[in-house]
Symmetry: C2
């Protein structure tokens, strides 16, 4: 039975939830396929996450391995393939809570960096799990700066082997998933030395554990790096190598090779590799960031119409907390952002598919732009969404703080996305470098990539909005974002040039501008997100009910951004104080409008109760009952604690040795 | 041996760390006492937190009980008393990781709400731990709105007993600490009914577990609420009561009593109780919020001078990450805030001591102001500091994400402070209500409390700063904060009145202003924090070295606030765009100045390695060595996982039933 406070929210939806779901999925066919996959996974007790919040790190790891092994069987049974359309739905259904994700990266790196011969040897072994792989790049002392890696691989002509070493503690590999306890092999990155000369970082396949009994190979020290904020199911590991010898053939050599006599040969273009790195940043946006944000919104919004607290009107029943303006202001912008980022993800996917086709035709022109977009959006979407999940958690008060709400684990997991695959500040600065270059080019009339042509059209001026309604016009607010992005980029470019002209060294000048460069990169990404949302809504013209509510969300996303970053819009008077009042009024009015459809809007994400795994977010909204039932299953409830006999009883019975 | 990259930071301190420490402690005497207490605790292996990050919830609970019991003995040995000057240092030394904290609240509530007879009966029992108490107020369905509590206590004249009941699931007590597994008694809040008439919420002492064998008493259902984001060491519990009878004498009856014939008598003033609530909000600021923020700053800043990554200047050694402007911009404002909040805490403590003396003279005039200040500052300081700890965590990248950095547990714990003892949004709105009232009074010439007299002096105008240096003048920036606070309060008051005059019902009008009311309350607290910091620096005149660096921190705290909330300062042109450029320049310059003293500034907080419990933050800065040593102690490293025999071996040996 559905909680009546939740049921009533669904009766007044202004649009068809099922149609919106199908549209978000990219068509009803996809929805059907997704539901079939999710059902098959969720019916299988091996994949249950029911006890997840009660398990230790060891138990989580064991369950993840069990699931990964079982999944192989399941996929075979169901006729699903790794590269088939089902895989993303499988990943969604298991919520990423599975082992051997790095084994996949191990295989991908061999496929991309290995010769045909290497691929022919290793990929079948890995596909059949005759070896389990990992990917060992990051070291204790080295993360973002790859050139600084300290692991060495010295070529020994006499034996035709590479000798791998961890010369000091900071060179120890640290963090690689699947490596702490599972992997038999890894792709390790090391500085290649031949005849005493360093050729920079290269990838090597290294066996680390026996295929017979899983013991560590001679010279190998490896283990688990211990507890983390989340990812308890992953055996992130460390690895030290002492004179570990591997055959010459184990250096991945599609692009460079050490020949038997020690000659170093470089061949072909490595550019495709950088492209691989950028696609990983894009692919994580949906699975690791947007879906968790959507889940957090679902949980917090359903809870907020079931939770009643305090009275809005004296004498009446206590009010649903979503009826308080402050609660709307916390949650609804996050909901709008979840939609915005779903759409930006589609935009990026299309762009990258196009980029991939070009690159296959050996046309690398799009690379700088794709790199800038993947860096900037990875950083922007992870940062915004992490903060969004935290807001959802806090908005649920004490119950949000309970692990049983599902929100703490969503938060502690999504937080990592701000760090992995490129730390966000570093990524924003990469985008900024591209923007500054493009701005310089544009201002001297040179051609620039499509996403930055707007930089050429520097128009000082004022926002033409005359009233609150004008701020619901996408052209008005998109233009405001564009203006702001141009201003921040151009003013930082000017500061940079001034510093250099005044004699500051280039690298110091750059460092002195980085706070503002990050701001500029954010403004650029924010502008493109707003523009893309508005264009997505425009294209929806045939679906009137959906278009209307999407338009509201787009307006909210845009106006929330102006309201919360008022300074950059007011700074040069592009938006006046009086206009900011209009923005505020329009923004607050939108909250009340969207509030009415808040539950249908999260229902459309179509998460099952099992995938939410939340006592607050279930479809039926029976929050208190579920919290109580769940608490009773906790191991802290299963027995009288030994603390009673050992400490409490002597204390209470005053039989402790006299105080 | 101290890491040379850290040692070099200490050689160039512009001030005496020891003198700053003594000043922060309130005198060298206090420093000596604190160090003696900390040493006594840390030398005792029972209080060790060494394995904390590896323990399960059950283990954490057991350890906390063990420590609490042992502490009784220790205090007796050392001659420390609960009310002595040592207690705050004990709490700091154990980092709050101890049981029976709610037992203390149990005792306090009896002392405050109980009659002399009740105090004479219960306090000795509780002091000797012949009973263990808890405090059961919050229910599954009721947190902030106390009047909505659903537990009932019906007076039965025939037996002279109260009959307590949990009429429905939402009425179940939920969250009380020490209740899930430890407590024998609790103070339960329930709606009092006599002769069918409800007299509102009252406190009752209820026994919940047997003093003989700790089994639950008849009619009592209780247990642990399960896993949470942190506080694993606390047995937060649930409690259901079914016709549980307690004697009439168990209603705490200092202020109201049910006489044997059922007559309800109210006596004396309850105002002192509200004052108790507000003092709790103040007392948590130091222990639960400022100290954790200081710890996070210490960890992140020490790490940032030891961690080298990437090159600032081509051809040079990799740079300390604290030399990057973006890293400074993350960490140094948090450091400035830690100092600002330490000073605001002193300010509030003094104010409350004064308030307490007045109240004892039956002068309750200060109550509304004290309530507003305690609410607003609890909310502001917890919110700001929680965000500060998160920034510190993220600023340490992957190593910050490891539990071994200590940052994840600092973050997940401090986050709760935004929720408990009054959810922050609710608290800001209480402050806002006081501000609106005071503004109305001030604008009609009535007297207002000291902290809001500035509301009477509404001066439209412009900021007089002419150059960057002017923005290092406390009068200039304090005035800017004051102007902004007045503007936000007055404009929201005007909106509220407009709405009401246009026919909107009062409660609806209030709700429609709440987003802006929260902004106004924040601005008020921010203004007072800046003003208080500036005044604290001014009073330091005899300590020149310290005054200089404190002045820099004060400037940074103030300018960071303007830089990050530029919109509210630019909105009405009080600060112009050109002036905002000066603010930005002054702000960024300050980062580079304070960076030089960053390590001495965190050293002055004087945390021991044991109290930081962080692989990144130790005094010697041997980060990588410690991470590695610590990881090896993890239970995930202690044995071959059973997952190998069960899943990995059959997979690798291809002996799984055929796929």
């Amino acid at each position: 039975s559905v909680n009546p406070d939740l049921a009533s929210e669904r009766q007044t939806a202004s649009f068809s939830v099922e149609k919106l779901t199908a549209w978000l999925d990219g068509g009803a066919e996809h929805t059907r396929l997704r539901r079939a996959v999710v059902k098959a996974i969720e019916c299988d007790p091996v994949f249950s996450r029911e006890n997840q919040y009660f398990q230790s790190q060891n138990e989580r790891y064991e369950a993840a391995v069990r699931k990964a092994v079982h999944l192989q069987k399941k996929m075979h049974e169901m006729g699903w393939s790794e590269n088939g359309p089902e895989f993303k739905y499988i990943y969604r259904a298991v919520s990423g809570d599975i082992a051997f994700l790095l084994h996949r990266i191990f295989m991908r790196s061999i496929s991309v960096l290995g010769s045909d011969k290497q691929i022919a040897k290793w990929i079948p072994l890995a596909s059949q799990y005759r070896v389990i792989g990992s990917y060992a790049q990051t070291e204790l002392g080295h993360g973002t700066y790859l050139q600084g890696l300290e692991t060495t691989a010295v070529f020994d002509i006499a034996t035709q082997e590479f000798i791998l070493n961890t010369p000091k503690i900071s060179a120890m590999k640290w963090w690689p998933g699947d490596m702490g306890r599972s992997a038999t092999h890894t792709v390790a990155f090391a500085q290649l030395y031949v005849h005493g000369k360093c050729y920079g970082v290269h990838p090597f396949i290294v066996q680390i554990r026996s295929l017979q009994d899983h013991s560590l190979c001679p010279g190998v020290t490896a283990g688990d790096i211990g507890p983390k904020m989340n990812y308890e199911h992953i055996d992130n590991g460390y690895l030290m190598l002492q004179n570990v010898r591997i055959p010459r053939e184990n250096m991945l050599n599609k692009f460079c090779e050490v020949q038997p006599d020690g000659t170093y040969v470089r061949r072909g273009s490595q550019k495709i590799n950088y492209f691989t790195m950028t696609t990983v940043r894009i692919s994580l946006i949906s699975d690791e960031v947007v879906i968790p944000l959507m889940k957090a919104c679902t949980i917090a919004i359903r809870y907020s119409v079931v939770r009643r607290q305090s009275k809005l009107k004296p004498g009446e029943q206590e009010a649903k907390i979503l009826d308080y303006q402050t609660q709307q202001e916390k949650l609804l912008p996050q909901l709008a952002a979840a939609y915005a980022f779903h759409f930006i993800n589609s935009f990026l996917q299309e762009l990258f598919d196009r980029g991939y086709r070009e690159i296959q035709r050996k046309n690398f022109d799009m690379l700088p732009e794709l790199h800038a977009l993947s860096s900037g959006f990875k950083a922007m979407v992870t940062q915004y969404s992490t903060s969004g999940v935290e807001i959802c958690l806090r908005a649920c008060g004490g119950h949000g703080y309970s692990s049983l709400s599902g929100l703490p684990s969503l938060y502690t997991k999504i937080l990592a996305s701000c760090i992995y695959e490129g730390e966000n500040t570093i990524l924003f600065l990469q985008t900024a470098r591209f923007l500054i270059k493009s701005f310089m080019a544009a201002s001297t009339g040179q051609p620039v990539p499509p996403s930055v042509t707007y930089l050429a059209a520097v128009k000082p001026g004022k926002c033409p909005a005359k009233n609150e309604l004008d701020f619901l016009r996408p052209d008005i607010y998109t233009e405001a974002y564009q203006h702001t992005a141009v201003r921040l980029i151009s003013s930082t470019a000017a500061k940079l040039q001034d510093l250099i002209q005044s004699g500051v060294k280039k690298h110091n000048a750059w460092n002195q501008c980085t706070v503002q460069l990050v701001q500029a990169a954010k403004a650029h990404c924010h502008y493109i997100s707003v523009k893309n949302f508005a264009e997505t809504v425009e294209k929806l013209e045939t679906k009137a009910g959906i278009q209307k509510i999407m338009k509201h969300l787009c307006d909210l996303f845009a106006l929330h951004g102006i309201f919360s970053n008022a300074g950059v819009f007011l700074y040069d008077g592009y938006i006046s104080g009086a206009q900011m009042d209009m923005v505020t009024a329009a923004y607050l009015d939108l909250l009340a409008i969207i509030r009415k459809d808040a539950v249908p809007l999260v229902d459309a994400f179509d998460f099952t109760d099992k995938s939410l795994n939340s006592a607050l977010g279930s479809y039926d909204g029976q929050v208190y009952q579920r919290l109580y039932e769940w608490a009773q299953k906790s191991p802290t409830n299963k027995q009288m604690s030994p603390a009673y006999e050992k400490y409490l009883k002597p204390l209470l019975h005053n039989t402790l040795s006299k105080l």
